[in-house]
Every structure is written in structure tokens, then in C-alpha cells.
């Protein structure tokens, strides 16, 4: 098992899918130059400008054109550059891509992938740092993936490209250079399956994308205090692996959810609600939901830090979760 980076995982996945299926193509701004993060490096030279397409700065038309191209039988991979810019293409994603199949009674299929880099990254400010996964998870018709590891950057992108549903694929900007073990096979990952990133018995923490790494660090801090934490990396947010989460919490009887996105009305609330509905009377302590305060991301370091949920406050929450019910 060799090591590769998150960015290599993504690049290799797309290259292999372009190789495997002539209907697959990519479109977005500056792809010929490799994309903002070099995640497309070398692909246009290898596959040609007709299949790795440099588009005008027209997010709505990038997405709308992908819908039309998918309807006639191609499999477009859409690059949004920053997740924030997908907001310029919300009609095309929500009202067109996600609705087409249903609205026309199953006549059409829209097998496209929308790559949306998310998350806080190097003082990029309020319009280049958002994590809007709860918006997309809320829309019937969409599948939502959020890899946390290089292996999943590879496997989940392949799965997204092969899926016949429209998939929103969220890649975290801070993870591009992360190195990790490459998967043992070139098979796509299984959509809808979570991963136990660290087994434990005292409390379950559920996270996805970059927050998985924060949760792992927090679990180490908690371990030093004698608390054995189970960390679940969801990997796919719709459908999410409720089975894995419920069986874990059924064992640990304690739940913490940690997300980088704004906490209020975020996807973490969905997990807490689902677990509470199913297992509420069996929980030892009340579930805890962690996320950013309801503020935009600031530019200056301390302001940016005010937004982040770091290992220390996650660890504190884990310790609170294992404390007595009264203290929780």
C-alpha cells in the first residue's frame, strides 16, 4: 500500500474514469491550467480540450450545460472552483439537475458530478470558505459525498462519476496536501457507507471531511484522560450510514457530532435528531452538537479562529458527554 495525497487521489480518479468511459468529461474554469488547486493538472494535455474543457466564467451555464449534456447521454464532471460559487448555479443544480428525473416521470437521467471545494483555508474570507453541505443534503434527488482521506478522495470521486444520480462531491481545500495510504484496489468506494476511523467504547463522535481529523485529535486528548472514543467518518452525507451510527451509539450510549459548518440548522442536527428519535431513551447523556457559530468566516487569523471548531473544544465536549447526566 503506497501513500498518495488527497489531490493525487482526486486527479487519479478522474484520469482513470476519463480513460475508462468516453462519455465522461470535465468542465469548468481554468482546467487547462490544472484548476485552482492543480487537481486537474495534466488532464487536458492528456485527454484534449474537448473532454477537459475550459469554460467561460458562467457558473450557471457550467451547471446548466452539464444538465443538458447529461440528458443526451454524457457524464459531465463539473468544477465549481469554490463551493461558494455553486450558489451562482443553484437553479441549475436544485431545480434542474435534482428535479429532472422526477419531474419528467423518469424519462431523463442526470448523471453529473459537481465538485465543490469547501472549508476554511488560509484566510480566504467569507466568500471562499463556506461548508454548505446541509443545503445540498436537503434537496431530494442529490447524493452528497465528503471525503476526509486521500483514499476516499479517490474512491468516492470514482463512485460519484459512475453513479447515475447527480452527485455533489465536497472536497476540503485544507486536505489537498494530506498524505495517506492509497486504497488497495482501483474500485470505487461504496456510497452510503461510513468508516470507523477509530474504534472506542465510551462515546461516539460523528464527523466528515476535515472535521474527522479534528475529531481524531480530540479523541487522542480524551484518551489521555482515560476516555475511549469511537470516531465515525461518514464519508457520504446522503445517504448517510445511519446503521453504523445507530449501532455505535447503541453501544456507547453517548453522541457528539462535530462539523466545520455553521452549527445551527446544519447536517449535525439531522444526525442528533435521528439518533434521539431512535435511541433517546437509551442515551446516558444528552447528545452534543458542535459546529461554527452563526457568523461568516473572517479574514484575520483570530477572527478565522473564532469560526473553527478545534480539537480542544471537541475534546471538552467528549469529556462532558461522558460526565454524569446532571453535568451534561
Amino acid at each position: 500500500m503506497s501513500a498518495f495525497t488527497y489531490i493525487e487521489g482526486a486527479r487519479r480518479a478522474l484520469a482513470e474514469e476519463l480513460e475508462r468511459d468516453h462519455r465522461v468529461w470535465a468542465l469548468g474554469e481554468d482546467l487547462g491550467r490544472g484548476g485552482v488547486f492543480k487537481q486537474y493538472d495534466g488532464l487536458q494535455a492528456r485527454f484534449g480540450a474537448e473532454r477537459v474543457v475550459d469554460t467561460p466564467i458562467s457558473e450557471a451555464t457550467i451547471m446548466g450545460a452539464a444538465v443538458g449534456a447529461a440528458l443526451v447521454g454524457t457524464r459531465p464532471v463539473v468544477e465549481m472552483r469554490f463551493s461558494d460559487f455553486a450558489l451562482c448555479a443553484v437553479d441549475e443544480l436544485v431545480n434542474q439537475a435534482a428535479k429532472n428525473r422526477f419531474m419528467f416521470g423518469g424519462q431523463g437521467r442526470v448523471p453529473l458530478v459537481v465538485r465543490q471545494p469547501i472549508g476554511v483555508w488560509r484566510s480566504s474570507g467569507a466568500q471562499h470558505s463556506q461548508s454548505l453541505e446541509s443545503w445540498w443534503v436537503h434537496i431530494p434527488g442529490l447524493v452528497v459525498t465528503a471525503p476526509a482521506t486521500p483514499a476516499d478522495a479517490y474512491g468516492l470521486l470514482k463512485a460519484a462519476i459512475r453513479a447515475d444520480d447527480p452527485v455533489v462531491h465536497l472536497e476540503h481545500k485544507a486536505l489537498w496536501p494530506l498524505t495517506g495510504p492509497a486504497p488497495e484496489s482501483d474500485a470505487p468506494a461504496e456510497l452510503g457507507r461510513g468508516r470507523i476511523a477509530r474504534p472506542g467504547r465510551d462515546v461516539t463522535i460523528v464527523a466528515w471531511s476535515a472535521a474527522v481529523h479534528e475529531a481524531m485529535a480530540a479523541a487522542n486528548i480524551a484518551a489521555a484522560r482515560g476516555v475511549d472514543v469511537e470516531v465515525i467518518d461518514l464519508r457520504t452525507l446522503w445517504p448517510w450510514d445511519a446503521e453504523m451510527v445507530l449501532s455505535s451509539v447503541a453501544r456507547t450510549r453517548r453522541l457528539v457530532v462535530a462539523q466545520e459548518a455553521v452549527r445551527d440548522a446544519g447536517f449535525g442536527a439531522e444526525i442528533v435528531a435521528t439518533v434521539t428519535e431512535a435511541l433517546g431513551d437509551r442515551l446516558e447523556t444528552r447528545p452534543i452538537r458542535l459546529g461554527a457559530p452563526r457568523i461568516p468566516v473572517g479574514y484575520s487569523a483570530p477572527l478565522e479562529a473564532a469560526y473553527r471548531v478545534g480539537p480542544d473544544n471537541i475534546a471538552a465536549a467528549l469529556l462532558r458527554a461522558v460526565a454524569s447526566p446532571a453535568a451534561a
Binding site: E92, R101, M103, F104, G105, A278
Partner: protein, 362 residues
């Protein structure tokens, strides 16, 4: 009706007569369909917003005469005419309007989302301007797959004030895509006169400025539409890139069936009825030697055909409620019985709320 591509308007008088008779039939098919929709709404069988194109039938009729089944069209909220002219199944359309099982969109679409993918009609759209990028992408996809077909995009004069118009024309010109943009300029954007909120010299000028050559024509003259569409589509099929056809027409009815359109001066509407494209074509047929009975027979035949589809729709059952859960998505698809608030069982039924279809998708 879809016909072989590159059917040039015939030079002979006889050929011309034949062609105008066909156009007459298509236009009546559209009008009779829409009148049936109007009646269906009044009778409570048809629901929702129904946008009629009465008075605008010459545009899709003349354009679609140059399209083959493999060509695709993206349509608007006013899509019955586009659909019928492209050869959509009339019974399927009527069942859909009546909300019945077996409708073109399985009862999920209705009038505003009418579609027939089998004949390349990729759907009416509830979002003004949304069809524009879909059409350019369809053209790009067809080219990537090595298909010779083209895409046609219908849109209204109001839609030309939305961003997708600018973005899509620019895109089509940059990539030299095989797209015909057809602007049905009926003067009105819902209840507002489009001219009162549109800057500059108009749609054709906007199009030219974006590098898409445009042609403005009398869209109530079906022969003029036929001729112009033939010319532009010929160029597009020859690889010359996108073109725009600006067809001046008029919406004789309200914005929707239930809109009496009191905001329009009665004399304006009366004058426009004088310019009814069907009546104009009838006069042309008369000049070509058809007698009144022959012309009326076309209307009678098309009306009867539509009446039959109404009868079939009334006899058809409503869809089963469970169908509301179909065709949402495969991966993580909803299941009937997973309603809001329903507690999960942790004893064996975990994960039963949505289907993962593990293994079948990848």
C-alpha cells in the same frame, strides 16, 4: 411533425400547397390541444398553471418542420406547441395534463413540465430562461458523442433579460455549438409589457453583439418561419455555429388560462386577432385554390384527434400514491412509509428508511 432533415421548402406550387396544408394541420393540432386544456381546467380535470400559446403556433410549426427526431429541444413554461410540433405523443400529453397514470411524465409534471424524451423534447421548464444552458449543453454533449443532431432552444422575450440568455449565447458562440435559439417575442412578460423593462435595441442586436448571428421575422407567417428556420438550421448543420431566430408574434390569451389579461387594451388584442397565424395560413391556402370545406376539414380532423385523447384521459386511472417515491434518485432513494416523525426501530429495521442499492450502481 418531425420530418427528414434538410427538407427545403419545395419550389413547386404543389409542393408549397402540401407544405402549408401540413403546417395548417400542425397549428390546429396545437390550438385544439390547448382549447381542450382550457376546457379541462374549467371542468376541474386539469390543474395548476396552464400557459397557452394560442396565437403563437406558427413558430414551433415552422421550426420543427426542419428537425429530425434525434434533434433535441429545450422548451419554456409555454411548451405545448413546441412539444406537439416536435412530434410528442398526444395521448401521453393529455394524460399528463389530466394527472393520470400513463401520462408523459407519469403525473409528475403537468402542463408546465410537459416532455417527451423519445422525440427529443427535453422538457418544458418552470424557470424562465432555464432551458438556455440546458440546450447548449445538450448540443455540446451531442458533439462529444459524435452525433450529427442539433439542439433548439425556445425562450420568450422576457427571458432575454435574465443572465442565462447572456451566458448561454456567449457559451454557444465560444464553442461554436450546433444550437438554434428561437425567441418567441410575444410582447409580454407575464403581465408586464417587455419593452417597458428592456434596455437597448432588442434581442437580435443583443444576440449579434454576442457573436450569434440573428434574423428577425414575422413569426405569425408560418411560411416565413419555415423558410428562415430552414436557412438557419441548414447553416447550423453545416457547422457554422449557433444562430438566433427572433420571431415576432403575440400571445392572444392571458399569461395563464385563468388570467383574463385586463391589463391589455382591448383594441390591441382585437387587432392582433386579425393577425391570427392560423387564419392567415387559411387565407394563403385559399389563394392556392383550396376551398373552404377542404380547409375546415383540417380543423375538424385535428379537433377530433384531440377529442379522442381527452376521452382516453378521462377514462384513465389516477396514479398510485406510491409513485410519488419513484424516480427521485437511486442512491439513497426514499421509501414509502418513511414519513416525517416516524421513529426508527433499532431492532432489525435500521437503515430501512432509504435504499442504498449497494452494488447495483457502481
Amino acid at each position: 411533425m418531425t420530418q427528414p432533415a434538410d427538407t427545403a421548402p419545395p419550389a413547386t406550387d404543389n409542393g408549397r400547397r402540401r407544405r402549408l396544408i401540413d403546417h395548417h394541420a400542425t397549428m390546429w393540432r396545437i390550438r385544439a390541444f390547448e382549447r381542450a386544456a382550457e376546457d379541462g381546467l374549467a371542468a376541474g380535470h386539469v390543474n395548476g398553471a396552464v400557459h397557452m400559446s394560442i396565437g403563437q403556433e406558427a413558430v414551433p410549426t415552422g421550426v420543427a418542420a426542419h428537425l429530425i427526431t434525434e434533434d433535441v429541444i429545450a422548451s419554456t413554461h409555454r411548451g405545448h406547441g413546441h412539444s406537439i410540433a416536435k412530434g410528442a405523443d398526444l395521448n401521453g400529453m393529455m394524460l399528463e395534463l389530466f394527472g393520470r397514470a400513463g401520462g408523459a411524465c407519469a403525473g409528475k409534471g403537468g402542463s408546465m413540465h410537459i416532455a417527451d424524451f423519445k422525440v427529443g423534447m427535453l422538457g418544458a421548464n418552470g424557470v424562465v430562461g432555464a432551458g438556455l444552458p440546458i440546450a447548449v449543453g445538450a448540443a455540446q454533449g451531442l458533439r462529444l458523442l459524435g452525433r450529427a443532431a442539433i439542439a433548439v432552444c425556445y425562450f420568450g422575450d422576457g427571458a432575454a433579460n435574465r443572465g442565462p440568455f447572456l451566458e448561454s449565447l456567449n457559451w454557444a458562440a465560444v464553442f461554436k455549438l450546433p444550437v438554434l435559439f428561437v425567441c418567441e417575442d410575444n410582447n409580454w412578460s407575464a403581465t408586464t409589457r417587455t419593452a417597458t423593462m428592456s434596455a437597448g435595441p432588442g434581442i437580435a442586436a443583443r444576440s449579434e453583439a454576442l457573436g450569434v448571428p440573428a434574423l428577425s421575422i414575422d413569426g405569425n407567417d408560418v411560411e416565413a418561419v419555415d423558410e428562415a428556420a430552414g436557412r438557419l438550421i441548414g447553416l447550423i448543420r453545416g457547422g457554422s455555429g449557433p444562430r438566433l431566430l427572433h420571431a415576432r408574434t403575440y400571445r392572444l390569451k392571458g399569461h395563464t388560462v385563468t388570467d383574463a389579461a385586463p391589463y391589455r387594451p382591448a383594441d390591441e388584442v382585437a387587432a392582433r386577432w386579425e393577425d391570427d397565424p392560423i387564419a392567415r395560413n387559411a387565407a394563403e391556402l385559399k389563394a392556392l385554390g383550396l376551398d373552404d370545406d377542404e380547409i375546415a376539414a383540417i380543423e375538424v380532423a385535428e379537433t377530433a384527434r384531440i377529442a379522442a385523447s381527452v376521452t382516453a384521459a378521462l377514462a384513465a386511472p389516477l396514479p398510485d400514491t406510491a409513485a410519488a417515491f419513484d424516480d427521485v434518485q437511486d442512491i439513497g432513494r426514499p421509501r414509502p412509509g418513511a414519513e416525517q416523525g416516524q421513529a426508527w426501530s433499532t431492532h432489525g429495521a435500521m437503515g430501512g428508511i432509504w435504499a442504498l442499492d449497494r452494488g447495483t450502481q457502481l
